[in-house]
Symmetry: C2
Subunit: 129 residues, 2 copies
Amino acid sequence: MKKRPRGINKRSPVSGYRCHGRIWVEKEGRTFLGYGRVILLENIRDLGSISKAAKAMKMSYKHAWDLINSMNNQAATPLVITSKGGKGGGGARLTEAGQKAVTEFKDLYERLSTFMKEETEKRNYSRSP
Amino acid sequence: MKKRPRGINKRSPVSGYRCHGRIWVEKEGRTFLGYGRVILLENIRDLGSISKAAKAMKMSYKHAWDLINSMNNQAATPLVITSKGGKGGGGARLTEAGQKAVTEFKDLYERLSTFMKEETEKRNYSRSP
């Protein structure tokens, strides 16, 4: 199970000041991808079920579905597809587009993390202000 | 009067997807500087008064004071100093450290803005996912 951090943060080696950042992708003013949504996608990929993924994140099943519908409706092709049947209520899996969305967002997040680290080190907040 | 944006956002020339980001500086887990705080500092510098600065931002006087105390207590030297007297209840001004905090944070914000712009253009969300 993957947890959601409060934000990217990098402690300066020199002082107690840290740069923090958050990043997300919107479409027409509405959130399309953010860190929490991407963790949900990863959990669906790893657990094969929306209910298990939601439970692992202590998220309500309804909220998980709302997020998935939001992503699927905004993407050119759906990120998650579900299958009927079984007593667990069927399964769910990521599409190729879903996996690509995960990979690309995590790459973006990594680059932001590097940016924050460099900024924290560069500015050396112990000397300023 | 300067307004506070919801976050940095860069529209892709190709699609409706946009990267958004926020950045802030913490010390020991508490916010030290963020965009709203920096706008408050700028308004104090430009208007010479905490009450005028708060009013310009539709912020309560108490909330403005809480933010200023938070910044002053966390900084090595205070960012804002006040003077008594006058029927307006005295004035307020930025210290050199306060102006430096404004300049450095705005520079950081500009660099994040450039980062977001490059990410939005680079990833071309119309093709993916």
